[in-house]
């Protein structure tokens, strides 16, 4: 099962060796798993095994709270089979998965299979799919595996995900894999804090910007002048403009390196986990961002990456130098090891307050230089939806000198300015979560050349929403904040094309406009100004194809995740090629459209995957029902 002499340190699996190894690993884990956990009180984070859930007897997962050494300090973690992250779970497409989850903690728990199509009772969301797994109880998950690719799993109970309750899930395809590779490595990016997550939540709720130590100050005025190439007067005037709006252009991550230790497979940057490949070998990295709050910019310094899969779905290969992995997204990339040298695997956080790191090398003990950290980015007026017109001059860019962007985003070349033809801009009716047209009136919606921007309606979302953006617009060709200005090729959503057209690509006949809203000052988050406890269920009609237009009113990026069904992401090209995703990142002031086949009856979770946003209310229950004629259901009855 292991590849290379020292690879026990990392989860490195060669394809051919896997099956035999998995069986052996399974046998040993079943007996030894919970035992070793008890005899090793100074367990180190980053030790995790692999299990095959398609074997007839199924697998057992033991959830325990124990002391774990994280980067030389002891923390209270939640381990799965004694490890954190949990074991890499393997399944085979077409088989039945059988997983018994034993809760050995004093609190309730759960496991949600992220991105997996299954009956809603197996989805693992306490309060929606089931009761949760009580202390001492065993819950058996059993479902048919109907897909393949790289996914992950995590607790959906409270804030357990922050404490290590997650792991990678790999489903082998039933048909021959279109992706050829010699060796594969699991990369689970995450963030860890020694604080109680509830304490962190309390701090965010009571003291604004608690963890942001990168704010504009008098002391960094000259640094900003130097970095932007603007005059002191311009910099000061921009700061005053931001102040006038009561906004902070450095509000990019709510929780930062001030408390987070950034981890790659449970190891800190100092521990430098090493992955092995011989020269000429093609390496498949299966990357999962299992963070609670951290967007990572991933690269292997000096080597091009070929992106072959996004959210478990094969895509037409795209070669890039860097890719942003939003929270809860997964990407598979191929890297060819060129020579006998070591290469740094570098995952810098979006706010640049830290990084996770590893090494790709032919032999143990090798390492390469850690790349220089980039300046922390600042939000621009574009992130306020003000870029396309009179206020364009206010764009302050990143603290990087090169303002001539290399990404060619059409937003930058003024293709849709405010004074454009009205056909590119629409005003969506407000608050229409439950506004439903009679079926007779439903016409197929356009699937190409969708509006490039929407104007914020006359609606106010109330005290829970600070909506500064007057417009939201398509940003799928933009690399994202802080990227694309240093000559690196960065993956954009616009480059993702499904390798094979999924079966259902009917045009949708109904659309729902969902504003992503929040009050950063009070740390209230929600959709259309309402948090979960104030909302009613969003209803999908079983069998229908519907569209959701996300309109991000906030100045933060939100990774939106729908359980149980795919979201087909509109990225401007051939409709048949739109990528299928389980989690879509919506940038500040972005209009992002997804089409959904409502083919999974039951009730499902639908939420922002930033854990603290979700816990603060950025969550909806979706009910896939027989028809839409009944009364809306209170999410909280």
């Amino acid at each position: 099962m292991m590849n290379g002499p020292d690879s026990q340190r990392e989860n490195s699996i060669s394809r051919r060796g896997f099956v035999a190894g998995a069986a052996a690993g399974l046998a040993s884990l079943k007996i030894a798993g919970p035992l070793w956990a008890r005899t090793n009180p100074e367990l180190r984070a980053g030790k995790f095994g692999a299990l095959d859930a398609s074997t007839p007897g199924g697998i057992d997962l033991y959830i325990e709270k124990q002391e774990v050494r994280v980067d030389e300090k002891i923390g209270q973690a939640i381990t799965i089979n004694g490890g954190f992250p949990g074991p890499v779970i393997r399944m085979k497409e077409g088989d039945d998965a059988l997983i018994r989850v034993h809760n050995r903690m004093h609190e309730s728990t759960s496991i949600h299979w992220h991105g997996i199509l299954l009956p809603f009772t197996m989805d693992g969301v306490p309060g929606i799919s089931f009761r949760g797994i009580a202390p001492g109880e065993t819950f058996t998950y059993r479902f048919k595996v109907r897909q393949n690719g790289t996914y992950w799993y995590h607790s959906h109970t409270g804030m357990q995900e922050q404490l290590g309750h997650y792991g990678q899930l790999i489903i082998e395809p039933a048909q021959p894999d279109p992706v050829a590779y010699d060796v594969e490595h699991t990369i689970v990016l995450s963030d860890w804090t020694f604080e109680d997550p509830h304490t962190a939540m309390k701090k965010l709720k009571t003291i604004e910007g608690y963890y942001n130590f990168q704010r504009p100050t008098l002391a960094n005025l000259s640094a900003q002048v130097e970095a932007t190439g603007e005059s002191l007067g311009e910099v000061i005037s921009k700061r005053l403009q931001w102040n006038w709006m009561r906004m902070d252009p450095t509000d990019i991550a709510d929780i930062t390196g001030a408390t987070f230790t950034y981890l790659l497979n449970g190891r800190s940057a100092a521990q430098n986990p090493t992955f092995f490949a011989r020269p000429g070998q093609k390496v498949r990295f299966r990357i999962t961002n299992a963070s609670t709050m951290t967007y990572y910019d991933f690269r292997v310094e000096g080597l091009p990456l070929t992106v072959v899969q996004a959210d478990g779905q094969n895509v037409e290969p795209v070669e890039v130098d860097e890719l942003r992995v939003a929270v809860a997204e997964t990407y598979d990339v191929l890297v060819t090891m060129p020579d006998e040298k070591a290469y740094t695997i570098f995952a810098e956080t979006m706010d640049r307050s830290g990084f996770a790191r590893g090494t790709l090398a032919p032999r143990p003990g090798m390492s390469a230089a850690i790349p220089a950290r980039r300046h922390r980015p600042m939000l621009t007026m574009a992130d306020m939806g003000m870029m396309h017109g009179a206020m364009e001059g206010m764009d302050e860019g990143d603290e990087t000198k090169d303002m001539e962007s290399s990404h060619g985003a059409h937003a930058m070349n003024g293709e849709h300015k405010m004074d454009d033809k009205p056909s590119t801009s629409v005003t969506y009716p407000p608050h229409d979560e439950r506004r439903v047209a009679p079926i007779k009136e439903r016409k197929p919606l356009p699937i190409q050349n969708l509006p490039e921007m929407v104007q914020h309606g006359p609606d106010e979302h109330g005290a829970a929403s600070i909506a500064m953006a007057m417009h939201a617009y398509r940003r799928f060709d933009e690399p994202g904040i802080g990227l694309g200005k240093d000559g690196r090729r960065v993956l954009t959503y616009g480059q993702l094309k499904a390798l094979q057209t999924p079966p259902d690509r009917r045009p949708p006949t109904r659309e729902i406009n969902l504003h992503l809203t929040g009050n950063m000052h009070k740390y209230i988050w929600g959709f259309n100004g309402k948090k979960w406890s104030e909302s009613k269920m969003i209803r999908f009609k079983f069998g229908e194809r519907l569209r959701i237009n996300f309109i991000n009113d906030t100045m933060m990026s939100h990774p939106i995740h729908l359980h149980g069904m795919w979201m087909d992401l509109y990225v401007g090209h051939d409709y048949a090629k739109n990528p299928r995703k389980h989690t879509v990142n919506v940038n500040p002031a972005e209009l992002l459209t997804v089409d959904i086949s409502a083919d999974a009856p039951g009730q499902w979770a639908f939420h922002c995957h930033l854990l603290y946003h979700m816990e603060a209310g950025m969550f909806r229950t979706v009910a896939v029902v027989r028809d839409l004629s009944g009364e809306p259901i209170d999410a909280k009855s």
Binding site: P119, F120, K144, R246, P438, H521, F619, V625
Partner: protein
């Protein structure tokens, strides 16, 4: 970092608040049932025979359930024994002492100790507030001072603004004299464009005098932890009040400057200066009583939060 002792203080404060407001429901979150009418009126009933019905997808169903059962279940709220999916309506408490300081008088008048604090308990939108300030000074046997405390119900009425209503208890003491005053209070508190923290209150006293105070402060961040905070406080009265020694119109101006260093976000020692003046009629009354009508202090203290 909260320690058990501090948590006790919070708990006492919270119990007090509960007692005063007549039970926890007084400021509970908005009922989710409030919007039962217009929004669903738009929903039109559907005809049962629909072309898309004929191409219902093949769904994988939970073991032992038919499609009808699953669709019926999807129409139901979750069973009673299910926990809340998202506990997003927690009640929380927060107590911040903005000033706890020693004020050293530069002109030979008595030194003073002063404080200003605020606390809240409640949810995101509805909160119970306690806001107060006080000053005391000694000279030999003389011990005098004044304080006021507002107990208010507050509601977040706009993203940056909380409206508050309640009562104020104020007192003035010196030697044998002790006077106290009750007033009804209305306030608006929040963040004004430009990042100014503003708190404006009006009070109607027992004697039907109208008082007002206006406070504004601004944080000038020098480094990530070093902050210079200018602050001003203006007081007004509609009528003369001998009991309080104030005249009609604006009666006092306070201008503070504090330089604090945040060791943690919840704990910051500071140094500063304070200028206060009694103005117009109030200044004349003070002068008539043989008091200075302006004072200048240098000060040192600590700002801290408990939660």
């Amino acid at each position: 970092m909260p320690n058990p002792k501090r948590r006790d203080v919070t708990r006492i404060l919270v119990s007090l608040c509960v007692l005063l407001a007549g039970g926890p429901n007084a400021w509970a979150q908005d009922s989710p049932h409030q919007h039962g009418d217009s929004e669903h009126a738009e929903e039109s009933p559907e005809t049962p025979e629909v072309e898309s019905q004929s191409r219902l997808p093949e769904a994988e169903l939970p073991a032992g359930m038919t499609l009808d059962e699953v669709l019926a279940r999807a129409e139901e709220p979750p069973p009673d024994d299910y926990p809340d999916a998202i506990p997003d309506d927690h009640l929380r408490a927060f107590f911040i002492v903005d000033q706890l300081e020693y004020r050293y008088d530069l002109q030979g008048e008595p030194d003073a100790v002063g404080t200003e604090f605020s606390a809240w308990f409640g949810g995101d939108f509805n909160r119970l507030w306690l806001k107060g300030e006080g000053e005391a000074s000694w000279q030999g046997e003389d011990f005098e001072g004044e304080s006021d405390v507002d107990l208010l119900y507050g509601r977040l009425i706009a993203p940056f603004w909380t409206a508050q209503a309640g009562v104020q208890y104020a007192n003035v003491w010196g030697g044998e004299n002790y006077r106290d005053f009750w007033a009804a209070a209305l306030a608006i508190q929040g963040l004004a464009p430009g990042m100014f923290e503003v708190d404006a209150s009006i009070y109607v006293t027992e004697k039907l005098n109208l008082l007002a105070t206006f406070e504004a402060e601004y944080d000038v961040r020098i480094t990530q932890r070093l902050v210079l905070q200018p602050r001003t406080e203006l007081r007004f009265s509609a009528r003369d009040s001998d009991a309080r020694g104030i005249g009609a119109g604006m009666n006092s101006v306070v201008v503070d400057l504090r330089l604090r260093y945040a060791l943690w976000r919840e704990f910051a020692p500071y140094l500063g200066a304070r200028f206060e003046a009694l103005v117009f009629g109030t200044g004349d009354m003070a002068a008539a009583a043989g008091e200075d009508n302006s004072r200048f202090f240098v000060l040192g203290g600590v700002r801290f939060a408990i939660y």
